[in-house]
Symmetry: D2
Subunit: 257 residues, 4 copies
Amino acid sequence: MANITVRFYSKCLNRHTSFQMYLPYGVNEEGNEYQKRGMKTLFLLHGYTGDAGNWVPEYLSDKYNFAVVIPNGENSFWLDGISTGHKFCTFLGEELVEFVRKTFNLALRKEDTCIMGLSMGGFGALHTAFRYPEVFGKLAALSSALIMHEVAGMKEGQGNDVANYEYYRECFGEPSKLLESDNNPETLVHRLKTEGKEIPRIYMSCGTEDFLIENNRAMHRFLESEGVEHVYEEEPGIHNMDFWSRYVLKFIPELFG
Amino acid sequence: MANITVRFYSKCLNRHTSFQMYLPYGVNEEGNEYQKRGMKTLFLLHGYTGDAGNWVPEYLSDKYNFAVVIPNGENSFWLDGISTGHKFCTFLGEELVEFVRKTFNLALRKEDTCIMGLSMGGFGALHTAFRYPEVFGKLAALSSALIMHEVAGMKEGQGNDVANYEYYRECFGEPSKLLESDNNPETLVHRLKTEGKEIPRIYMSCGTEDFLIENNRAMHRFLESEGVEHVYEEEPGIHNMDFWSRYVLKFIPELFG
Amino acid sequence: MANITVRFYSKCLNRHTSFQMYLPYGVNEEGNEYQKRGMKTLFLLHGYTGDAGNWVPEYLSDKYNFAVVIPNGENSFWLDGISTGHKFCTFLGEELVEFVRKTFNLALRKEDTCIMGLSMGGFGALHTAFRYPEVFGKLAALSSALIMHEVAGMKEGQGNDVANYEYYRECFGEPSKLLESDNNPETLVHRLKTEGKEIPRIYMSCGTEDFLIENNRAMHRFLESEGVEHVYEEEPGIHNMDFWSRYVLKFIPELFG
Amino acid sequence: MANITVRFYSKCLNRHTSFQMYLPYGVNEEGNEYQKRGMKTLFLLHGYTGDAGNWVPEYLSDKYNFAVVIPNGENSFWLDGISTGHKFCTFLGEELVEFVRKTFNLALRKEDTCIMGLSMGGFGALHTAFRYPEVFGKLAALSSALIMHEVAGMKEGQGNDVANYEYYRECFGEPSKLLESDNNPETLVHRLKTEGKEIPRIYMSCGTEDFLIENNRAMHRFLESEGVEHVYEEEPGIHNMDFWSRYVLKFIPELFG
């Protein structure tokens, strides 16, 4: 096993950033079939106020033989913001993937590459996988902050307890144009269907007492109405690590089993 | 000596951040007069595209017995941006100072507390010391990116090779209001004079071939016209580490000798 | 909260070493009574093959308001080895304690300072607290590798599956002299009693299926026979993190409640 | 570019260890011929009391396109010590090389793989390259601590200002058997010649005021007497970073130019 920290200069962020990695026992071992075709890899996305830290137990990586790549998304909603140097979506789906492929020979095929996130990171998992379906074969989105409809209705000077209007505009772009933009995961689903592209396999869950439960139910209904195959689960629970730990145990075997 | 990395949750940034520290030989040693009154401390600010890394040779810290605190300012110009979670000026001048005081018993008196930066960090050193003159007794500003007059003239859709309009608006606020705002170091100098407050001791330098030389000369003339005592030096040189290394050697003895 | 990594030059080890720290919410906050007298601190010792990593949940530090200091003891049995640069006991009980006191203003009084370890670190917690009873007021020793009697019987060329004779001699000194030496916790207990010194408060536990159960029972009987007050608990369990996690939950409130 | 820290479990050391890496601009870039055959790599060895830190300027790595791998050798003399878990030579020449090859696809061919060290690390560079000539094509040994003849004469209870007898015995094995053992670089040279194996290209230097100058001259004479091709340079200088920095500039182009 190995715990790895990488600091490198990101063109998308216009500055240095760092990410964490976990490599399981057996990575690239002789006779390991993944050595030849690129090890299985999980990109793991933190939530709002979070940073890069591994919330997947290492024994699961060892058991299913997958590497974990854990970037810092700051409070970006894993989107390309409007300011120079805030291209977190391109950073994640292009620059970081390319870096990991070339440096570690990982994540070479979408069948081997998954993305999982919680809260803001759940939004990021859905959005990034829909934006880069040729990179990510499967996604798991836990208690996802699918707040694009609320943000779309915001006016200058508004905001909420968490953040002000300028913050949301920086992350999502002009609110009035958000729903039609590429920052809306629904827009990306429509496009994938129109273009006849394969949609990544989707695993979603949310606690029934989570303040984001209606946002998640809305996405579930949207996917149903669009005929997009997906797993959607609810269970008693709130927006906390207890819930996410349980769904890590449930969804990791689906992603890598 | 010690090299220290601290990760902590910042209220100003709404997320975890980290900073670096260097402690010299002798910090808090018995019989060290600084043990009683708070060790001498240098806050060290990186430039645009940079991150927390020590560019003051450790032997200088050992010789003059000062700690170095090295925050990550991202590309914020060390200002409070307009979005929630972008309060880098308050982070630096209040939250980080308080954390360092309480955790390490450092930077307790302004006579012992200095701030130095290069390029964007030179702007930050001037601005932060003028904004928190009760914290920082001296400042050194190298090749400072004193671009407030250029930014003030920007219109929506404009920008330059380095960054777009939205980036500058995020950092500096509405350009049309910048020159009168607290984000303009000149405004802060006027206020300090009006309020009869002591202005920190100022050391500035810029290379004569630096693309920022005219901005630095303008600040020099401004300080002269305002009757603000300061050291200003020019020397052949461009915007690079060679120049900054020379001025570290010149200015550190002024700050801590 | 803060996660801290410190690299510093150790005179006892003749080289640089690093340690980890966790500071809880509230460390040194205004109105915190511990600010005046030195924050409560736990020194946390890893086992054989381990290294510095926090196995006490952070919420417990936050709840009981104690800092955690986590050194790297390598495979030293937390003893002063016979070779130059292997003084791990002096490093822990003197050099590291002094560094933490002076740099962080922590661990100033033995009432506030505890030591806990597992396996080799359980041996280390007992030994170090008995060696420095003026530093550590309480200790918790989990599944302790109290193997001094086995080591004392070793002859040159012997050893076991884990390590060779030379390794044990390096850590414990000449086996034939071990039982009378300061490397034997029993010797230290005798001395503390003879000198009329206060013995730290002792919490011990071991799983009934642990391969070290008889060694722990022997220490329990020894302490009983010496009339040394202590808590000793057994419970079904083996030598693994499941058992240690349960006893962290049980013993932390005893140490800091 | 990237700065990488790796923590992994070492079988040779019986515990976790960490190492540092620097990757230059251009590592594995498209059209980079080294992508196909394994990037050029420098293993960089610190001296006594040192630890893993990069003393090769990053711009040199960028210019000559080589990665730097920087292990922690503690005070082991980069030899397999007599105690279990002290196999630093095997760790370096086998376990770490294998890890770096499989994880980063580096150091695949000896033509691309060099080793450089200073002081104790200079001894290590010579010894390790002679021990693993199929791994390392070139070596640079600066101010090398070639003290095997002094150590060979030590008796129990002896030692010197730096370290005691037990320390030297732990590192080098029984002093009386040292000169014939594999821990003596001279023994390894004899064997390579006997077996008709290719000897790595050798670059040595030492300052004329260095306290190790006679030891280095002795190795120079030994290599001459054995007819082993090598570069040996002397220059005014002592045992310090000024000297080593100058020879990094001289020898890196020889290794990677």
